[in-house]
Symmetry: C2
Subunit: 449 residues, 2 copies
C-alpha cells in the first residue's frame, strides 16, 4: 500500500484537487487556540512574559498532579466525542475515534501534553490539541473516516523530570525496555521518585501492554512548533519535516577528593568541579569544530559546601549532530578528551560515562511526507512551505522506527522554545491545524489495507 500511496501522490501532486469530501469540512476558527489557552490556564500556567493573561508559559512536568489533571480532561473530551480510551502500562493514552473499518489499525495523530519546567504553551500541547480539534471537526461534520483515528498523548516526551526524552513512545516502539523507563529517577524533585511510582500515584499505569505489536497504529502524524528560527527567518508558514538530527545523552561522573579549600595547595587538589568546568568548555569547543551541538543542563556537586573541594560531580551531556556518523565522531572525541582532562586536572581524578539514550538520525516516510507536502501546497501554496530537518527529538522519532511517520512544523517566534516566551501566531496555529487535518485525512482516504 505504501507503493500505491507513492504512485498516487506522484500522479496527483500539483493538481490541487478539491474533489475529496474532507476538503469541505466546516472548521470552527479560533477554537483550537481557545483550548490551548484554557488548558494552559487550568493546568500549569507559569512564567509571565507579557501583560496579557495568555502571556505565560506552562510548567506541567510529566506525571505530576497537573499532568494528571490534563490527562483526566483529555480523556473526558475524547470520550465525549465517542472515542474508545486505551491507557498502556507506561501511561500513553490512545483515544480512538471510530472509522468505517474498525478492525484495522488506526491512523494516528500524536504528541505530548507534558512540558518543561520553563515550558511554553505550544511545545507538544499544540500537537495533541490540534489532533483533538481534528476529531471535534470530524464529529461536528459527521464525517466518518475510512479507518479509525487514534489521538495519542505520549508520556514524558520532554525528558525534563525524568532524564530520557521521547521515553514512552520509545517503550511502545520497543526501543527501550519497560523496566528501564520504570526505574528512571526524577531530577527535578527534592527527593527523587521513579517513573513507575509516579505512574501508580496518579493512576496512569494502565492495563494495556505498551507495544506497537499488540497496540498497533498504521501511521503517525505529528504537528509541532519548529522551536528554531528557520521558518520565521525565511517567512515560510509550513515546515515539511523530512527528518530529525541524531542526539545522545550521557551521564558523566567525576570523582575527586574532598579537601579543605583553605589549606590544600592548588597542585595537591583533585577538584571534581574544576575538571568538570574544563570538560564543559572542551565539549563546546568540540561542537564548534564538528559543526554540531553540545550542552550540559543538569549538574550536581557534592558535598556542596563552600570550603570543601568538590569530591563528586555528576552531569548530563546532550550532544546532537545532523548525521549519525558525525555524532559518533564527536562522542569519540569526548570519550578521549574528558579522561585526558581528568588525568591532567588534578592528582587523583577519575571518570565514568553512563549511556542514557541515543536517538538516531531519522528519515521520515515518503508517503507521509507526500501527504503533508500536498496538503501544504493546497493550503498555503508550495512557496510558503519548505522541507526542514528537526533539531529537536519528537515522539515521531520513535514511531518512525516502526510505522510510516512524518511531521509538520509551524514558525516559532525568534526560534525560542523550552522557555515560557515560546510563541506562534494565531493564524499560523490555525494554518498548521488545517494542514494536519488534510494530511491525515488524505492518508486515510488513500489507505487500502
Amino acid at each position: 500500500s505504501c507503493e500505491k500511496l507513492k504512485n498516487y501522490t506522484q500522479a496527483e501532486e500539483g493538481k490541487k484537487s478539491r474533489k475529496m469530501s474532507f476538503k469541505n469540512l466546516k472548521i470552527k476558527p479560533g477554537r483550537l487556540l481557545t483550548t490551548i489557552h484554557e488548558t494552559a490556564k487550568a493546568f500549569g500556567a507559569k512564567g509571565v512574559w507579557g501583560p496579557e493573561s495568555t502571556q505565560t508559559g506552562v510548567c506541567r512536568l510529566t506525571l505530576s498532579d497537573l499532568d494528571k489533571g490534563v490527562r483526566d480532561w483529555f480523556i473526558d473530551e475524547t470520550k465525549s466525542l465517542g472515542c474508545e480510551i486505551k491507557v498502556d502500562e507506561i501511561g500513553n493514552i490512545f483515544a480512538i475515534y471510530p472509522g468505517k473499518n474498525n478492525n484495522a489499525a488506526p491512523t494516528a495523530i500524536g504528541s505530548h501534553l507534558d512540558t518543561q519546567p520553563t515550558g511554553g504553551r505550544y511545545d507538544g500541547i499544540y500537537g495533541v490539541l490540534s489532533g483533538l480539534e481534528v476529531l471535534r471537526t470530524l464529529k461536528e461534520n459527521e464525517f466518518v473516516p475510512n479507518y479509525p483515528i487514534a489521538l495519542i498523548n505520549w508520556t514524558n516526551e520532554e525528558g525534563a523530570r525524568f532524564p530520557m526524552s521521547i521515553m514512552a513512545s520509545s517503550v511502545w516502539a520497543e526501543n527501550i525496555p519497560l523496566e528501564t523507563a520504570y526505574k528512571l529517577e526524577s531530577v527535578t524533585d527534592a527527593e527523587p521518585v521513579t517513573v513507575e511510582h509516579e505512574l501508580k500515584r496518579i493512576g496512569y499505569l494502565g492495563p494495556n501492554k505498551a507495544s506497537y505489536k499488540t497496540n498497533p497504529i498504521k501511521a503517525h502524524f505529528e504537528i509541532h512548533i519548529e522551536q528554531g528560527p528557520v521558518l520565521e527567518d525565511e517567512k515560510k508558514l509550513i515546515g515539511i519535516v523530512t527528518g530529525v538530527q541524531s542526539y545522545a545523552w550521557y551521564k558523566v561522573r567525576v570523582f575527586g577528593k574532598a579537601q579543605h579549600t583553605g589549606t590544600t595547595p592548588l597542585a595537591a587538589r583533585s577538584d571534581a568541579l574544576l575538571a568538570t568546568s574544563q570538560m564543559i568548555v572542551k565539549g563546546n569547543e568540540l561542537a564548534k569544530k564538528h559543526g554540531c551541538l553540545f550542552s550540559v543542563g543538569v549538574l550536581n556537586v557534592k558535598p556542596a559546601v563552600v570550603n570543601v573541594i568538590p569530591e563528586h560531580v555528576e552531569f548530563i551531556i546532550d550532544v546532537r549532530h545532523i548525521q549519525d556518523k558525525g555524532l559518533s565522531a564527536i562522542l569519540g572525541e569526548i570519550k578521549k578528551e574528558f579522561p585526558k582532562i581528568a588525568s591532567e586536572s588534578g592528582r587523583a581524578l577519575s571518570l565514568e560515562f553512563d549511556h542514557i539514550y541515543t536517538s538516531d538520525a531519522v528519515k521520515f516516510h515518503d508517503d507521509c511526507i507526500a501527504c503533508v507536502r500536498e496538503s501544504a501546497s493546497e493550503i498555503v501554496g508550495a512557496d510558503l512551505a519548505r522541507e526542514i530537518i528537526s533539531g529537536a527529538g519528537h515522539d515521531s522519532c520513535s514511531t518512525s522506527t516502526r510505522v510510516p511517520t512524518s511531521m509538520i512544523f509551524i514558525p516559532s517566534k525568534d526560534g525560542v522554545s523550552h522557555n515560557p516566551a515560546e510563541y506562534s501566531k494565531p493564524e499560523d496555529v490555525h494554518t498548521g491545524f488545517e494542514v494536519l487535518m488534510s494530511a491525515v485525512l488524505k492518508y486515510d482516504s488513500l489507505r487500502k489495507d
Copy 2:
C-alpha cells in the same frame, strides 16, 4: 598587663622553669582520645575509611539534631565539673569553670563541635574536647586557677550548612550583625531553613546577648589540627600559630536564557553554565598567577533539565591569600574578568556579585603566642615546634579582633581535612592537649587584672 606579660616572657623564655604548680598536675592519658571517639560514635559518625570502628569521619552539621545531642552532652559534662553555663542568642555555649577571682573575665579556650558533611573526628572537636580535658584535669587535681576559665563551643564555625564560616564568633565579636546570621539559609537541606529557625527548633537560641562587651573574655586559646601538610612534612609536633591568611566568599549569579538544546545554534545561546565553567577555569588561572587559592564548592543550575540551556547559575567562590593586599588584588581581577567572560560567552548574559563574608588576615597576639611557644619548648622542645600561618579560618580569627588570642596546631596525616579520613596520631593528640593546658595556665598565672 600585656606589656608585663611580654616582659615576663622575654625574661623567662628558655629557662624551662618547673616551679609553677600547674606543671605538677596529674593527667589521665588516653581519656581525651576516648572522649573524641565516644562522642563521634554517639553524635554523627559517618564515612568509613578503615576497618576499625574509630575509622570513620563525623557528619554533624551545625544546629542539626546531632548537634543538639552533642551540645546537651557538653552542657551535662561541664556542669558536672562545676561550670556555670551561658548560652547566647546565637547558640554559643560558654561553660565557665570558677577560679579564685570570679569577678574578672575568664580566660577562654574555644573551638567548635559542628563538622562538615564530609567532616573528620578532629576539626574543631579536638579543640573543644581538649578544653574539656583541661577542666577535667583541673577538677581532679583540685587545682583552682587564678581566674575563671571559659570553655566555649562556638556555633557554625564550618559555614557548611549555612554558608558563612566562623559565623557565631563573628556575631559575638560584633563583626557581623546578629540579624545577618539569623537570616542565613541552609545550602545542604532540600528545603532551605534559616539559622534563627534552627536555633529555636533545637532550643539553643539562648537568653544572653552575643557580645564581647556584655559577655567578655580576657583571652582566647584554641588548639586545632593543622589541616595542611607542613608539620607532618617537617616532622614537627607543634605549630605555634602566629596568624591566619585572609579569605573572602562571594555569591555569583549568572543570568542567561532558557532555550532548547537541540534547536538553538551555539552562536545564538546564552548558556549560563558554559559561562560559569569559563569563570571557574579563569579563577583557577588567576589563583595560580597570584600564588593563592580559588575554589567553587557550591553551584546550582536552573532549570536543571538535560535539554534546556541553563538560564541561571548561582555559585559561591572561596578566594584566599596570605595578605589582605593580595586578596584585594585577585578579587579586583575576578570582578573585571568574570563580567568580560559573561559578555563574550553568550548573547545576553549578565552577572551579579554578592559579598558574603571577608575574614581579614590575622596576626595573633604576642603574649598568647609567647605562652604557646614557651609551653611547646617545655613539652616537646623548641626543635619540634615551628611557627605557622593557618590556611583555614578559625573562631580565633573573630576573637583576635577583640581580645588577645593565639592557636596551637598538631600534625594532620597527609594534610587531609574536610574529609572523613582526617587523622592525627594519638600521641600527637595528647601532646597538643598538654601544650594547650600549659599555655592557658601560664596565661592565667601571669594575668594581673
